[in-house]
């Protein structure tokens, strides 16, 4: 009996330990969230201090747009390389630091002018800008993280055949299996394996990109319409190039339509083909960008009202919104993957 009591006491002790651990973790995560929010606020504070009147629109635009320099917080700036091609000079590579003087004013360099993140030549010759901008840098970071994670997962998969997954593999294998079994297989059908690599890459690229974008100081990479446009164009080509006879006959020879309706239905069907990638592109761009705009607007309330009470309130709200943004980041990646696999499923469907 005494042994039993001792045992139960031991278990209770363990449980109490577990609880305190959970609480500790919770408190740490909340603290980290708060700290990250304060980080943004500090940047904004020093931004607003310089100008007489605090311009919210300008501040938000500066945060959500692409840039030739990466300003982590105020004063901590990484100058990114600028790669230009123009007919007279050929390929030119230099640091974007050259475009700024000691007073952080924009100055011309080698006949090139940087104005509102747009580079042009002083003599008016057209310039092609291949620079590593902030968003390009974040695409590289995203790709690097994906390489790092999935090489480890693949290695673990090869090593632990028939055994339980280990380490980072046990985090990502359920997600991969979820995408395969719940998203791709039901919508594409039997020939899903050809498209699985693209769809998994799509999901993890968007998901990681969204999550990196939520880190203070990071770029709004998946909230850039050029990035989402390229993803949507890839989906467009894969869908249409794998289109089977049924798919095309539904577009050009819609069954069950009287002949005099054909001239109306045909343009509608062709527009339908084009709107699918456009809706994918706009949905991802808008949901991520608007999330950033909402967070930044709530933060700037502090500087409109000049009050620490409002600052405290907006910090709490922003923390909650950031937590919702974590959910949105996942759901948007899921939705993009799901719609892409639905479109591919429609295209590869054989006669039914």
């Amino acid at each position: 009996m005494s042994g039993y009591i001792e045992k139960s006491g031991y278990i209770e002790n363990m449980r109490a330990n577990e609880y305190t651990n959970t609480y500790k973790n919770l408190i740490y995560s909340v603290l980290i969230c708060l700290l990250s929010v304060f980080n943004i606020q500090e940047t904004v504070a020093s931004d607003g201090g310089e100008t007489e009147k605090f311009n919210i629109g300008e501040m938000i635009n500066h945060h959500i747009k692409d840039s030739h320099v990466w300003e982590i917080t105020h004063g901590v700036v990484i100058h990114l390389p600028i790669i230009l091609y123009s007919a007279p000079d050929g390929l030119v590579v230099f640091s974007s630091e050259n475009f700024f003087n000691e007073g952080h004013q924009e100055v011309p360099y080698m006949g090139y002018v940087l104005e509102h993140e747009h580079i042009s030549r002083q003599d008016g010759v057209s310039v092609l800008d291949f620079s590593i901008t902030k968003n390009v840098l974040f695409i590289f970071i995203d790709a690097f993280i994906m390489l790092f994670v999935f090489l480890a997962v693949a290695k673990g998969y090869r090593k632990n055949i028939g055994k339980a997954p280990k380490g980072i593999q046990s985090l990502f294998e359920p997600i991969i299996i979820f995408i395969r079994d719940e998203v791709v297989k039901p919508s594409i059908g039997e020939k899903y394996q050809r498209y699985l690599p693209y769809l998994l890459t799509l999901f993890f690229f968007i998901w990681f990109g969204n999550l990196i974008g939520l880190v203070p100081g990071a770029a709004n990479m998946t909230g850039n319409i050029a990035v989402t446009c390229v993803l949507a164009i890839a989906t467009f080509f894969i869908t249409n190039l794998s289109g089977k006879k049924t798919y095309w006959s539904h577009i050009f020879n819609t069954p069950g339509v009287p002949w005099w309706l054909r001239p109306i239905i045909l343009p509608v069907e062709i527009i339908g083909v084009l709107t699918k990638p456009v809706s994918l592109m706009v949905r991802l761009f808008v949901s991520i960008t608007a999330g950033h705009i909402v967070v930044l607007s709530l933060i700037s309330l502090t500087f409109i009202f000049h009050s620490w009470m409002v600052g405290f309130g907006s910090t709490v709200i922003v923390t909650l919104i950031t937590i919702i943004e974590l959910l949105v980041a996942t759901i948007q990646a899921y939705v993009f993957t799901m719609f892409t696999s639905l479109y591919i499923g429609m295209a590869v469907e054989e006669h039914h």
Binding site: G57, R283, A290, V335
Partner: protein, 84 residues
């Protein structure tokens, strides 16, 4: 007279505010309907709770994107209105 009203950018800012409100109404109706139907479905079939919840969250996210369209458009109008 009409031209001077059209040129007044403060109306653009006001329009952005009204637009944000209208978008909030639309999204509110949408999310309300999704939530209501999901609650009903969960009450009818408690064993399908998890599936219904996942579907509800995804569709709510799709509706939310429409509301966020409103946010982006209002933001663009606002920046255009204050820059001029």
């Amino acid at each position: 007279m009409l031209l001077s009203i059209l040129m007044d950018m403060s109306f653009a800012v006001m329009g952005a505010g009204i637009g944000a409100g209208l978008v909030a109404i639309g999204a509110g109706i949408g999310i309300g309907q999704i939530g209501g139907s999901a609650m009903e479905a969960m009450a009818r079939q408690p064993e399908a709770f998890a599936k219904i919840q996942t579907a509800m969250l995804i569709i709510a996210a799709l509706v939310e994107v429409i509301a966020l369209f409103g946010v982006v458009v209002c933001f663009l109008i606002y920046t255009a209105g204050t820059a001029a």
